[in-house]
Point group: C2
């Protein structure tokens, strides 16, 4: 614990339950950090086994959450996300086994050199320490996040939603037993005590005990954490993604990419929310785009040009305003505008983008180069769907989230993004002259 920034150094008696949990996590993290890969992998294998063995208890606990959710009138789509079946638990266990096989980031040498004075310098990846995750609904995140943190040598503090509290409690009990069985302190995996908002606030204020906080969920949760936390935060997930169809686009390809970006899975952060079309192809492209989007069940919120095209085609186009340019619909809706140039598209994106994923469709190499140079986002797609921004798609094996901030990690975060570095400098009595 760092004296400068940590909550009181003495007086554990005055710790709130959340601070006490964070303190235990920090102690456990110190024991975990030097553990070799074999120990961490053994713990993951034990977790996978324990999930299978504990299926009955987990499903029973999950049934309580489901019953509460239904009693509260929760929509069935949310209930479905909450639901754990033996098959789903088996898939979660398989995901944990996949994490075992991923390359170990801990101990990787990032840079190294022998300095002119003979000092040997190495920059080595080390665990961050204590990672806090604040997330909503889906209880599979409990296991996924714990597995990635454990693999990267971090203790984890899990703060799921109260709607999944029984499920999360059962899952974490299974995880802790398994971790301990592998010879690691159970406290490397903890559920944050308390279901109140206050417990999230305390977690956000545990600077010096918690090394990073990763919020995963809706925009409001993320904004709360980002704005209120003194613990460093990695902002994730808000995706107001654009597809720009350039004057030099292959229009067949543009249609496919547009529909895929919007409608293949509209509820996720890498789905497109706005289409921008170059004026030079608007007359040809807009009618085809309206057909294709309508066929995919998408409602268009368009500017004047799109509204006129809608009238001509007999397709209903709702009028779009600032609210639509700003909106992350996460539904079968898309905002649509015609722009006079690539630079105007870039300007629109600069104004409204959340910095997640932006796509250009063009056959013109100069246009592709200019778009990728000028657009500032975690991912820029050239002639590809926005839906590809994803840790698994990128070949990272798994992801803890998609960062939309610029510090530390940007885009899909895999295991290396859950580490920090340490310089180790070795001399033979070197002093500075």
């Amino acid at each position: 614990m760092r004296r400068m920034s940590a909550p009181q150094t003495s007086g554990q008696t005055t710790d709130t339950p959340v601070v006490a949990a964070a303190r235990r996590a920090q102690t456990a993290a110190a024991a975990l950090a030097p553990a070799p890969r074999s120990t961490r992998d053994a713990a993951l294998e034990a977790i996978a086994r324990a999930l299978t063995d504990g299926t009955e208890a987990i499903v029973a606990a999950n049934a309580d959450d489901i019953a509460r959710a239904r009693a509260a009138g929760t929509p069935e789509s949310i209930v479905d996300r909450l639901t754990l079946t033996p098959e789903r638990i088996e898939r979660i266990a398989a995901d944990v086994r996949d994490v075992v096989g991923l390359p170990d980031p801990v101990g990787q040498v990032q840079r190294g050199s022998t300095l002119p004075n003979g000092l040997e310098l190495r920059q080595i990846r080390v665990p961050l320490g204590v990672v806090g995750i604040v997330y909503e609904a889906r209880p599979n995140v409990t296991v996924d996040a714990a597995a990635l943190c454990l693999k990267s040598g971090n203790a984890v503090l899990l703060r799921g939603s109260s709607s999944a509290h029984a499920s999360n409690t059962a899952l974490v009990a299974v995880l802790r037993d398994a971790v301990q069985e592998a010879g690691l302190p159970a406290d490397v995996v903890q559920l944050v005590p308390g279901e109140s908002r206050e417990s999230v606030t305390e977690l956000m204020r545990a600077r010096g005990l918690v090394d990073v906080l990763i919020p995963r969920g809706g925009a409001s949760l993320i904004r709360t954490v980002v704005e209120g936390s003194t613990v460093p935060v990695i902002e994730t997930g808000t995706g107001n993604c654009h597809v720009y169809i350039d004057e030099a686009a292959d229009l067949d390809s543009a249609l496919e990419i547009l529909v895929n970006s919007k409608a293949q899975r509209p509820s996720v952060c890498n789905a497109a929310e706005t289409v921008l079309v170059h004026a030079g192809i608007a007359d040809t492209f807009l009618p085809r785009a309206l057909d294709a989007l309508t066929a995919a069940g998408v409602t268009v919120h368009g500017d004047d040009a799109w509204q006129k095209a809608g009238e001509a085609a007999g397709t209903k186009v709702l009028p779009a305003g600032e609210q639509d340019w700003a909106e992350e619909y996460l539904s079968y809706d898309i905002a649509a505008a015609v722009v006079p140039s690539l630079d105007a598209a870039v300007e629109h994106i600069r104004t409204w983008s959340s910095g997640h994923t932006e796509a250009v469709v063009t056959r013109d190499t100069a246009a592709a180069r200019r778009f990728t140079a000028l657009v500032d986002a975690a991912a820029v797609m050239v002639n590809a769907s926005t839906r590809f921004t994803d840790g698994s798609q990128f070949g990272f094996g798994a992801e803890i989230g998609i960062s939309t901030q610029k510090l530390h990690a940007r885009g899909p975060m895999g295991l290396p993004e859950l580490t920090s570095t340490k310089y180790v400098i070795t001399g033979e009595g070197h002093v500075r002259g």
Copy 2:
């Protein structure tokens, strides 16, 4: 500008001067980001020339600050740090020319692969955008920071101390003219308007406009920024560094490293503040250490064992308590304790370290390995002085500060640490199935 997080999107009329400056910086950053290295280097060359040409005006402005400082009874050591002479300005210009020669971080490909589906993935270094620096006294930081930000493609908002306001104003005027001469917007370099504390607060709240804030200065400044900022912060510089003399240390070497770590330049963050000695060598080492430290002008604040050794040697040892373990003296003072084991030293460091630099002196490879594995700090020295934690010493050419946090950058920050990354993914009509 990101709608989600930026201060009002419309209504520039309601912007405070600080927010307006941040907005101008963001616009300038967008113009600077795609500028090739040749343009950025030309701007740096122009700055170096302009500093020489503008020496007279800079020295005159500096004289005002010096007069004000002396009138306010400022100690001469601080006045010296504030002073700019033609020779010092020439050295600052030479430092800018050195930055020209450093490798360009922008555009470096960090990772790259062709995915199984044929998508080409590259992770490319890009500028962060707008970097805010809040710093104290020394006006050379104004130029150093601007040069490093410009080289790495970032716009910079400089918020120096009010004691150097006239000097900083003159320097920034020179920088802005030079940057413009090279064809870049002058607003890539700006002094934050206003000398009040309120202007720092506004800078700290300009989330969405300022991408990162780097405080450089005393512990109180850093704490204020770290705790109050909604803009992401990189914590720098607090160094409560330890030297641990192991049972298996070469005692001659240990003495040299200890004295160098403490007394070669006590006012800087990589100077040692505490020495921990293994009990097995205390009887031999403590008297020698007291001699050497006293000869170097260092006052020892010791535990019982050190106080006894002091009595035996006729050397005054002040009693040490928690306050001393926590203290970053930045003076000719050192806290001193005897520990029963390497693990006890690690535990002491874990409790009190600020995570900057920790050193072990030992001839035992197992002890060195255990110390480097267990101690969690930006830099761990084996048989070398703590004073080596420094961007220039590490061969980075220059540094914008020494990060003591774990996210984004840890240890001396060079040009790569002033960048983020962007994934560029190129396909030929790829959609997700």
